[in-house]
């Protein structure tokens, strides 16, 4: 059974009363456990929308025939309540964003500990897990620094530590190298590959960057709201 399987995912946004944007027009995809997959495609093809649905931040359109299905690690997530989806985001998913999205008033360690806290860890446990995660990404000595005191590459590594602190089954990264120079891009990709290879973590990366695509085991190409490639078997 695939780790992640989606069929007939549609997503329609309304812009005002009349205008509708059909961001996804029937996505079918399948990802095996431990895969590192890149989703590539031109701007506006629906990559980020797909990422939001895979990350349970939005739901797909309902009442379709045949109905949309999305299964992650054996769980049918399409009918889950907002509360359960939030809990699942905290405990079994990690997110890495293009613009790092660290909380500016918190230190690196506090940023990383947030996810652990949200997943239900006690304060001391979260703090210990954050230290460990920062060590994984080579920033143990920067634990007490605020994001503005770190370089872009360092900030993204903190963001990766935050995504990894609960050791989630699935890591979703939306243009993780979009704001980085080539040296930092290499560092970030090395880290993601290491988590994929050493921990068997499933990683899905949305990217424009061919370097990122090359680093992944498989590339799904999106075009006009659908996956142009055939799903993996």
């Amino acid at each position: 059974m695939p780790f992640l399987e989606a069929t007939n995912l549609h997503k329609t946004y309304s812009l005002g009363r009349r205008n509708k944007v059909y961001a996804l027009r029937g996505v079918d995809m399948s990802i095996e456990s431990g895969e590192m997959v890149a989703i590539m495609g031109p701007s506006g093809c629906g990559k980020s929308t797909l990422m939001h649905i895979l990350g349970l931040l939005h739901g797909p359109d309902q009442d379709l025939d045949p109905p949309a299905t999305l299964t992650i690690n054996g769980n049918d997530v399409t009918g889950m309540s907002e509360k359960v989806r939030t809990r699942m985001r905290a405990s079994s998913m990690g997110f890495v964003f293009q613009s790092f999205n660290l909380i500016p008033t918190l230190t690196a360690a506090e940023n990383v500990a947030l996810t652990a806290t949200y997943s239900g860890c006690k304060r001391a446990e979260a703090s210990a897990a954050a230290s460990e995660a920062l060590d994984w990404v080579g920033l143990g000595e920067w634990a007490g620094h605020r994001p503005m005191e770190l370089s872009g590459g360092q900030q993204q590594r903190v963001a990766i530590a935050r995504a990894q602190v609960t050791k989630p089954d699935l890591l979703l990264a939306d243009e993780p190298t979009g704001n980085l120079d080539s040296a930092s891009t290499t560092e970030v990709l090395d880290l993601l590959r290491r988590f994929n290879e050493e921990n068997g973590q499933t990683i899905v990366i949305v990217t424009h960057d061919d370097v990122v695509g090359d680093a992944c085991g498989r590339v799904l190409t999106m075009l006009d709201g659908v996956i142009a490639d055939a799903p993996a078997v």
Partner: protein
């Protein structure tokens, strides 16, 4: 810690909001302290008048505050009314001959009565802080027992001499504070006050009325089980030209007037607090708007709506708590300083109780929490994806 950091991120705005709450709580503390003081005065009066009947001349304005002399012979007539256990003649005079402005609170009085004439029926407890109470043997002597406020005002203790209406009196006792009338009263033997009253009204002497025949009021202690109000009516029916005051009369007249006054001053304090509460709502709404992206980040990495609500509400509660504590401290300073300044003139305006202080801080914290609820709910309802796009 991160909550405190969030608050000090916008120092000026947070400070102004805290000041807004502080002013409200300051007003609440000061006004409530004033209401407490009035309350304790009224309560004392209510207790004092509760189990007895005061009989005075029909022309006296109210509540024994008139000083119209009555012949002491009335005492026997009153005592003869069925249901009266003991009738004690008293003389009540203003302490100062010249009518001076005593301001807020109970005026300063001289009260003269024969010690122990009540035969142990007086239930309003007074006790001495220094020296002793008056005894029957003091009759005719120039001795006084001072209320706590007067002793402090005139800086007198036992053994000191005090000039009252041109005569010298020895202070033989100082009372414990009661927070009501006895604090501003000079207690004297009856015979001594009779002389003072006669000096005050020389026309009585010209009419051939001796000082020993004078009183200004009669305190009636009913027999056990007697209906006080029926007895009061019976006294008015049996004795000409007198009026009676009972506990109910006191509660009706003074109690209802002070209740209205209390409602007005607490209303003023609550309005200022409402303004403070609105400023908390404004601050937290702006804070939530500024942190839209941050809230989006937290929601996307797994913060529940409840956690976001809690975070915002705890922050606003912290503003309320800080404002409450500052307001309480400022209020306490005003109360202390005003009471200290007023003590010399006998004008003790405020009584800050632990209950008032605790209520002020708890109330402001709850106010802060409530004011944070609407912005918190707005924050929790944000779509994480939309919030992440917010610049």
């Amino acid at each position: 810690m991160s909550l405190v950091r969030n608050l000090i991120r916008r120092k000026l705005r947070t400070s102004l909001t805290i000041i807004g709450i502080s002013v409200g709580i300051w007003a609440l503390v000061v006004m409530s302290s004033m209401a407490n003081k009035i309350g304790s005065l009224v309560e004392g009066g209510s207790i004092y008048f509760g189990d007895k009947i005061i009989v005075s001349d029909a022309s006296s304005p109210a509540f024994g505050l008139g000083f119209t002399p009555i012949p002491i012979s009335i005492v026997d007539m009153v005592a003869a009314v069925p249901g009266v256990a003991v009738a004690v003649p008293q003389i009540q005079l203003p302490l100062e001959l010249e009518a001076s402005s005593t301001g807020f609170g109970i005026p300063e009085f001289i009260v003269g009565a024969v010690a122990d004439a009540d035969q142990g029926r007086e239930t309003f407890e007074i006790s001495v802080a220094q020296g002793r109470l008056l005894v029957p043997g003091d009759e005719g002597a120039n001795v006084v027992v001072l209320g706590a406020d007067l002793a402090r005002k005139f800086d007198k203790g036992i053994g000191d001499t005090m000039a009252i209406r041109g005569s010298e009196f020895e202070v033989v006792g100082v009372l414990e504070p009661t927070l009501t009338a006895p604090d501003t009263t000079v207690h004297m033997p009856l015979a001594t006050t009779q002389i003072l009253l006669a000096m005050d009204a020389p026309i009585l002497a010209r009419q051939g009325i001796g000082s020993e025949e004078l009183a200004t009021q009669i305190v009636v202690y009913p027999e056990t089980g007697a209906d006080i109000y029926a007895l009061a009516e019976a006294i008015e029916d049996s004795v000409a030209q007198v009026q009676t005051i009972t506990g109910d009369d006191f509660d009706e007249e003074i109690g209802s007037a002070t209740a209205i006054f209390n409602a007005i001053i607490l209303g003023v304090a609550l309005i200022s607090l409402a303004v403070g509460g609105l400023s908390v709502i404004n601050t937290m709404a702006m804070s939530v708007a500024e942190r839209t992206r941050e809230i989006g980040i937290k929601r996307s990495i797994g913060a529940s709506r409840g956690r976001i609500v809690r975070e915002v509400v705890v922050e606003s509660s912290l503003i309320g708590l800080t404002g409450g504590v500052i307001g309480l401290v400022l209020g306490a300073i005003v109360v202390l300083v005003a009471n200290e300044m007023g003590r010399s003139s006998g004008t003790i305006l405020f009584h800050l109780t632990f209950g008032t202080a605790a209520f002020a801080v708890v109330f402001s914290t709850i106010l802060g929490a409530l004011a944070g609820l609407a912005p918190a709910w707005t924050a929790a309802r944000l779509d994480p994806v939309e919030a992440l796009r917010y610049e």
